[in-house]
């Protein structure tokens, strides 16, 4: 997948460059068809180890603009009335993950256009993420817009159709076969998965026979975080589902009937790698709720990773991240004044005040940070402040 991102970006750049050349080297030409039209054409691209289809958008004719504007071509894709999404940020709407590709043509005037069918943009179906899998019919919406005043587009639709920045719009249908699950199908699977990994987390929390408050709060916190990606009725449904899973998980683990192996088997049955990561992440969060995990707890996490069929590397990655959350990095060799943000122009009084404030800040943090790297860093900061202050005395 990673190389695909590179390939996609590469082609987009090619299009923009060739088109810019077009418009500057061939200004108004007699013989340009008066009517502006677009069409789709499949081309197959090859890289060393990958071959994929590009649906190129070809355009011909005089651009439908009445004055000189900064022209852009924005493309969205819909499956019925539902948006088609994309995981690559460069191909997302600014405020959602719905697919959108924006090509900037530059400034054009009313007399410019394409004398013959020319490629102006394109999409790669492989990077699309539709709501359902299988052979689907999609609508590609091609819009010419004023890039200096673009119309707001949300989930593939223009929010205000009469917006003056929307110049021209056309919908072309195409079909494509998707083998991977669609996002609505995944959402359904996710409900099952959430139930399973909440129960796994409960099994982890109860591994010592008790549910400690910190563990309870950690589960609650993770559930709240999970709920932030839902809204409205869906959120209510998810809440019910989570609460139900928690209660069941608690009762079952007290009765000793909660079995990590069978939970993991069910989760594996869904066949979504992402859920497995999430499950292990969830368990790690619960386990590190008290700031650290002892060796027996770590062993349990590793076992869960194994049960889920995750590789050693991935398991370690998730667990380590849980133990040492990314944050401040302090290098030992750094110049203390620089690390502490001391301005050389400050007078002694100002510096002294700054030291006190920094000291208070890091001393305070020392007590909230979990053990390990971040805590050590906070302690190192205190030592650094003391050293710096001695130097300034």
């Amino acid at each position: 997948m990673e190389d695909l991102f590179g390939i996609v970006l590469f082609f987009i750049v090619i299009w923009i460059i060739s088109r810019l050349a077009n418009s500057s080297s061939q200004p108004v030409q007699p013989g340009i068809p008066l009517h502006f039209e677009v069409n789709l054409q499949d081309t197959r691209r090859e890289t060393n180890d990958h071959s994929f289809v590009v649906k190129e958008v070809l355009a011909i004719g005089l651009l439908p603009v009445v004055k000189a504007i900064n022209l852009g071509i924005y493309i969205s894709v819909l499956d019925g009335n539902r948006p088609v999404l994309c995981h690559i940020e460069a191909f997302q709407e600014p405020e959602s993950s719905a697919y959108q590709v924006r090509t900037e043509i530059g400034v054009v005037g009313p007399n410019q256009g394409f004398a013959e069918w020319s490629p102006v943009a394109g999409i790669i179906p492989e990077i699309l993420h539709p709501p359902y899998s299988g052979l689907r019919q999609f609508k590609m919406v091609i819009r010419l817009v004023d890039s200096s005043n673009p119309p707001p587009i949300m989930l593939g639709f223009v929010k205000t159709p009469e917006h003056s920045g929307l110049i021209w719009e056309k919908t072309i249908t195409f079909t494509h076969n998707f083998t991977e699950k669609g996002y609505l199908e995944i959402a359904e699977d996710r409900k099952t998965a959430v139930t399973l990994f909440l129960k796994m987390a409960m099994a982890v929390a109860m591994s010592d026979g008790n549910l400690h408050k910190q563990e309870g709060f950690a589960i609650q916190k993770s559930v709240l975080r999970l709920l932030t990606s839902y809204s409205g009725e869906e959120k209510q449904t998810m809440k019910k589902l989570c609460n139900q899973a928690l209660k069941e998980g608690y009762i079952e683990s007290r009765q000793g009937t909660l079995n990590l192996e069978s939970l993991a088997r069910s989760l594996n049955g869904i066949g979504n790698q992402q859920f497995k990561y999430e499950a292990l992440q969830f368990c790690t969060d619960v386990m590190t709720a008290d700031g650290v995990a002892d060796p027996s707890e770590l062993a349990l996490l590793h076992r869960i990773g194994d049960l889920l069929g995750l590789g050693m590397q991935q398991i370690k990655g998730i667990i380590d991240r849980g133990l040492v959350k990314p944050g401040i990095e302090i290098s030992g060799a750094a110049n203390p004044d620089e690390v502490l943000g001391i301005d050389p122009s400050w007078n002694g009084e100002r510096i002294k005040k700054h030291f006190l404030a920094e000291f208070r800040k890091w001393n305070g943090r020392l007590n909230t940070l979990p053990e390990g790297c971040e805590r050590d860093n906070a302690q190192r900061m205190l030592n650094l402040i003391a050293e710096a202050r001695k130097k300034h005395e």
Binding site: H212, I251, R360, I385
Partner: protein
């Protein structure tokens, strides 16, 4: 009639005091006849466990089956393996407490009420772990007290000092450094401000001394210093000698190594500077100047180190008062507190007379707040910690603040109670003590007022309420900040989301 006792559960040494018939606190010596008992545990086998001096010897010699200094690890998941058994810091502390109490019971009989001391800066987990250790040791414990506050009470009991005004209590022990600024008015003690550095104490001084010895040993004997060549106990002994002498000679594998006090002072100067920074910061926090401080009252064995006293003198412009036994004063104060907080009908008339006139008021040890959304310059919402109760607010206190919903048709607000040691706005650096959600009716515009009230009472219980002003719908949360709270929850509904 049972006794009221106070226990100073120290990093290196612990002590137990009781209220005598006249209502004055006195140290109760242990079965070895000592006032102080080393906070060390040695496990011989599953039946035999030694606590105290014998265990300290073993620990000092680096025995695998002995542990010490576990106070620093309270509230963490550190595990000590001693003679094949696993012990948490809480388990080990429980053993120390048990030994102290069992020894004391031999001379004083039954126990009515116990107070155990903790450093002012102890994080919540460590506080809870201490309470749990006490319970594990079978003690009837309801309260804990901050070490510098206990020290202040211990000093207050010395009538010859005639305390009146504002004082700093400077407590530098084996593992932690605490400072409290207190106001004393006859028999009333009001804590204005207290703070601490978690990892700063005599054992860090020992470590620095060891580094000097290692460096010199390498120079002279061209060999690495191994742990058994120069034990912790030897380092501690040499450090104490340097408090009395300008130069000492220590022997490591027949190599004589000279250490001067100046070298030692140089090595620990950065640690002393940290103590100075904390003092200045605390005085500033209390809204005071150094000139407002009448005297500095010392507690903790490490205040015997000359450079520490010099540092105090340099900062405060006067010699500190060390007229009590600095390693006992905390336990003495804790015993007074046990009687003060305990059931006074169990006191004799003479005891009652002394205890009744006492008045201790603490201040909030941390900042308490809630997580709110704030819009930055570009209008992007960003989570931030918003403080309601400031650190050092005199308790009891109550603070109400209004917050507003951020979105149209917002149907819930998150109600969180956060705790932090500094005026922290970054939610990553705060501890979330409680969490809930308040449901709101749909269909209302943004900007609905949510009134949040935090009330901190004298028993260190904090009640938090989140009220939707329009509908008067309320969500309540309660925190117990210094009393025993069972950390195991059996009601799963506490953790479901609403």
């Amino acid at each position: 009639m049972g006794s009221f006792i106070g226990i100073d559960l120290g990093t290196t040494f612990s002590a137990l005091a009781r209220i005598d018939e006249t209502g004055r606190p006195v140290i109760v010596h242990n079965s070895d006849g000592q006032n102080l008992m080393p906070s060390c545990v040695e496990v011989e086998n599953s039946e035999t466990v030694h606590v105290g001096s014998e265990a300290r010897q073993a620990f000092g010699l680096g025995s695998e089956n002995a542990a010490g200094r576990f106070k620093r690890k309270m509230g963490t998941s550190e595990v000590y393996k001693l003679a094949g058994q696993r012990f948490t810091p809480t388990d080990l502390s429980a053993l120390v407490l048990q030994k102290l109490v069992n020894d004391a019971c031999l001379t004083i009989g039954d126990i009515e009420e116990v107070v155990v001391t903790i450093p002012a800066n102890f994080a919540n987990d460590a506080r809870e772990a201490t309470l749990q250790a006490a319970r594990k040791a079978g003690l009837n414990i309801k309260y804990i007290i901050n070490e510098p506050t206990a020290a202040a009470l211990g000093y207050l009991d010395r009538e010859n000092l005639n305390l009146q005004g504002i004082y700093a209590v400077y407590d530098l022990g084996g593992g932690t450094f605490d400072i409290s600024i207190i106001r004393v008015e006859k028999h009333e003690v009001e804590v204005l401000c207290s703070s601490g550095v978690h990892d700063l104490g005599g054992m860090d001084f020992d470590k620095k001394l060891r580094e000097i010895v290692a460096r010199k040993y390498k120079e002279i004997a061209t060999d690495e210093l191994e742990p058994e060549d120069y034990t912790n106990l030897e380092a501690e002994g040499d450090k104490k000698s340097l408090s009395d002498r300008n130069k000492i000679t220590t022997r490591v594998n027949r190599t004589a190594i000279d250490i001067t006090r100046q070298e030692f002072e140089e090595a620990i100067s950065s640690l002393v500077t940290q103590a100075e920074l904390l003092c200045e910061s605390t005085i500033e926090e209390a809204g005071l100047k150094v000139s407002n401080i009448r005297e500095v009252l010392c507690a903790g064995g490490s205040t015997r180190v000359p450079i520490v006293r010099e540092s105090i003198k340099r900062m405060f412009g006067r010699d500190p008062i060390c007229s009590v036994n600095v390693d006992e004063v905390v336990a003495l104060g804790a015993a007074l507190y046990a009687a003060y907080k305990g059931n006074r009908s169990k006191l004799s008339d003479a005891q009652k007379e002394r205890i009744d006139r006492l008045n201790v008021s603490e201040c909030a040890n941390k900042y308490y707040g809630t997580i709110a959304l704030e819009r930055d310059m570009s209008g992007q919402p960003k989570a931030m910690n918003s403080i309601l109760i400031e650190k050092n607010s005199k308790i009891p206190c109550s603070v109400t603040k209004s917050y507003f919903t951020g979105y149209e048709n917002q149907t819930a607000v998150a109600c969180s109670v956060t705790e932090c040691s500094d005026n922290e706005t970054d939610p990553r650096f705060v501890t979330i003590r409680a969490n809930a959600e308040l449901d709101l009716p749909p269909g209302r515009p943004a900007g609905q007022e949510i009134e949040v009230t935090f009330s901190y009472d004298a028993n260190q219980i904090m009640r938090c309420s989140f009220v939707d002003v329009e509908t008067q719908e309320e969500r309540k949360l309660e925190l117990r900040l210094a009393t025993l709270e069972d950390s195991v929850e059996t009601d799963i509904n506490k953790f479901t989301v609403e």
